[in-house]
């Protein structure tokens, strides 16, 4: 009796193990046997685009996601190599170039580089010739206002100083974004290293904005906004609208304040240690194919900021326009001065 049951236990466990191995192992085969490993922001590349690439090149694409540049950077410096294409933002692209972590881009393999706009390349001062990075998307965080609750408001950063809206507003939990907004509102550079300007920005946030904010939040604010709990939020358009059903989009006014502010430029890079360098080039080239890039823009309702021809091909209206970004400034790596930003952020975020 006993031994039978024992045997049964082991048999059952073994079957379970083999079954899971088989189920998860089976899906790993493709015709060419090649696998392209991407490391990307969550949902940043539409699945339809990935599927088209897989079909056309007969390869398998495996995507891992990161939630912040810091996560990604930790992973890559810690020896997590093996990714073929990674999508860092401008400051981390710069750091990775400086630290010699990237493979050079071979322009002869990416004819579609000709579509990259000069607007994007002017901003990418750390790599204007695309030697190590190819721009993927350039955008900025803005302000979303619930029009059914709020009717009369200023369409610039001073909305956060509006005491009538106190307790109904939130800003991102991101030092460079919030301090950058204040700096831009005061007419300074978002990457300033002048302590006097920073002190002014700190004073503005602490005395005028912070008392009206519910919190600094980068994760849950869009849910609160869709619930009607928050009326005015600072955030990324795609994240905010993703929480809302399309029929409610009319209730929302999303705008980029004309005073300017910080913006980001995400690039595609090929880290050292990549195994499929050719395939990675093909992927980058594929992304910048006009109809494919338009598909990406349509998915997120983005304006065509880095691509010269996709604008005409896309079908959906974007949440903001390329022209809105004219006054915006990239958040460059401020190097050792970042500690100063962090110190100020501590007083904003944690000291009451």
């Amino acid at each position: 009796m006993k031994t039978h049951r024992l045997r049964f236990v082991f048999l059952a466990l073994a079957v379970l193990l083999v079954a899971t191995l088989l189920i998860t192992g089976c899906s790993k085969k493709t015709e060419s046997g090649k696998t392209l490993y991407l490391y990307n922001w969550t949902y940043y590349t539409p699945e339809s685009v990935i599927e088209k690439f897989e079909k056309e090149f007969g390869v398998r694409v495996v995507i891992d996601y990161f939630a912040s540049n810091e996560d990604m950077f930790t992973k890559l410096t810690g020896g997590g190599s093996g990714y073929d294409v990674v999508f860092p933002s401008q400051d981390y692209t710069e750091i990775m170039i400086k630290q010699d972590m990237l493979n050079p881009i071979d322009p002869s393999k990416i004819p579609n580089l000709s579509y990259i706009s000069s607007f994007a390349l002017e901003k990418a001062t750390y790599d204007p010739k695309m030697e190590y990075s190819v721009p993927y998307y350039l955008g900025a965080a803005g302000i979303a206002v619930n029009k059914t609750e709020v009717t009369d408001y200023a369409r610039d950063w001073s909305i956060f100083a509006d005491t009538r809206l106190a307790g109904r507003m939130s800003m991102l939990d991101d030092p460079r974004e919030v301090i950058g907004d204040a700096l831009a509102y005061l007419g300074y550079s978002v990457s300033t290293v002048d302590p006097k300007e920073l002190a002014e920005a700190q004073k503005l946030i602490n005395e005028q904005w912070k008392p009206n904010l519910v919190k600094f939040d980068a994760e849950g604010f869009a849910k609160s906004f869709s619930l009607g709990e928050f009326w005015v939020v600072q955030g990324y358009a795609e994240g905010i609208f993703e929480e809302l059903d399309a029929e409610r989009w009319g209730e929302v006014d999303f705008f980029l304040p004309p005073d300017g502010g910080p913006m980001y430029l995400d690039s595609m890079v090929i880290p050292k240690g990549a195994k499929n360098i050719d395939l990675a080039h093909q992927f980058i080239n594929f992304i910048h194919r006009p109809e494919i890039y338009a598909e990406f823009l349509d998915r997120f309702h983005f304006p065509s900021t880095v691509h010269t021809t996709a604008e005409q091909l896309k079908k959906n209206d974007s949440f903001y326009e390329v022209e809105d970004l004219a006054t915006y400034e990239l958040k460059y790596d401020v190097g050792a001065y970042l500690a100063e930003y962090d110190k100020i952020w501590q007083t904003i975020r944690y000291v009451n």
């Binding site: 049951r5 466990l13 193990l17 899971t20 939630a67 810690g78 093996g82 849910k223």
Partner: protein, 305 residues
């Protein structure tokens, strides 16, 4: 040695529960006296409806399960956000037909959980038996060292493993996650199986040896069957801990080895999709079914040993 010995009366599960639980409280657990039983109709306290303990019970259950109910309710919401617009199975449709990435992560999690739990259970059980069975010099040190992964903060284990793996040039991926999970599971298995062995009467082994069993036979036919419930429990514990681990996995995962917790975490910036709510219900149901079947199963093993 099983069949001819008088069998404990086969009734319902209750008597087994009594046999199992008080045996930890009352020191001579098994042996000739037979299973220990609580006298009938004896309760520790009278049960008033609004007594302190009942109120606490309700509060604790509410605290533990209310969040789960919220998640389950919203998994049937038609809208994307938190505003309730109506009943719908849309997110379930999406979960089952349109979430390849999620299922891939889930598959990775399951594969790692079961393989690392199996290996950790084998190693941990053997270690526990070995340390109880033999007396040797470094015994106490091994015991202490094996608890280290349990008391060290996960971040430290994660980082040190990451550095270790890149120092010995192992490609990060499924294998490194498996190795890491096995490592942190072993102490728990060791602890649980040791506890089970504490109740084990080692004179049975002497008897077995006396009757002509070899050392190996004594191990496989006497010791392991009688601690089987402990082994299965620790294996289940390991599966659970491996499934839910985030910190260590974050550090040692590599290309193509995203597990479910990593996947869900990476969504937070973009807004966690309601598909996760529906996955939660599927997981809760799956685990409940698994737990119920295993409970019956564990009882059978306990009864037969």
């Amino acid at each position: 040695m099983t069949t001819d010995v008088e069998k404990p009366p086969q009734r319902n599960g209750n008597h087994i529960k009594h046999k199992l639980i008080p045996s930890k409280l009352v020191s001579p657990p098994s042996g000739p006296q037979g299973p220990y039983r609580l006298p009938k109709n004896q309760h520790f306290r009278d049960h008033r409806r609004f007594g302190f303990s009942n109120i606490m019970l309700v509060l604790v259950i509410l605290f533990l399960f209310a969040p789960l109910f919220v998640v389950i309710t919203y998994s049937f919401n038609a809208a994307k956000g938190m505003r309730w617009t109506g009943l719908s199975l849309e997110w379930y449709k999406k979960l089952f037909f349109d979430s390849n990435e999620l299922w891939r992560a889930f598959g990775n999690s399951i594969m790692i959980a079961f393989s690392s739990a199996l290996v950790a259970t084998m190693l941990g059980s053997l270690a526990a038996i070995g340390i109880k069975w033999y007396r040797f010099k470094a015994r106490a040190y091994i015991q202490i060292a094996s608890f280290l992964p349990m008391v060290l903060p996960e971040v430290i284990i994660g980082i040190s493993m990451l550095i270790f793996f890149s120092a010995i040039k192992v490609q990060l991926g499924m294998f490194t996650i498996f190795a890491a999970h096995t490592t942190f599971n072993i102490p728990f298995v060791f602890l649980l199986v040791s506890a089970r062995l504490d109740e084990f009467d080692f004179s049975i082994i002497e008897a077995a040896r006396d009757l002509g069993a070899t050392e190996r036979q004594a191990l496989f036919k006497v010791v392991i069957p009688s601690i089987m419930p402990g082994i299965v429990t620790s294996m289940l514990m390991s599966v659970t801990m491996s499934l839910e681990d985030f910190v260590i996995t974050f550090f040692v995962s590599g290309p193509g080895s995203t597990t479910l917790p990593l996947y869900v975490y990476s969504m937070i910036r973009y807004g966690v999709s309601p598909v996760i709510n529906s996955l939660s219900l599927v997981l809760i149901l799956g685990i409940m079914i698994l737990a119920l079947t295993l409970r019956r199963f564990l009882k059978t093993i306990a009864a037969s040993s």
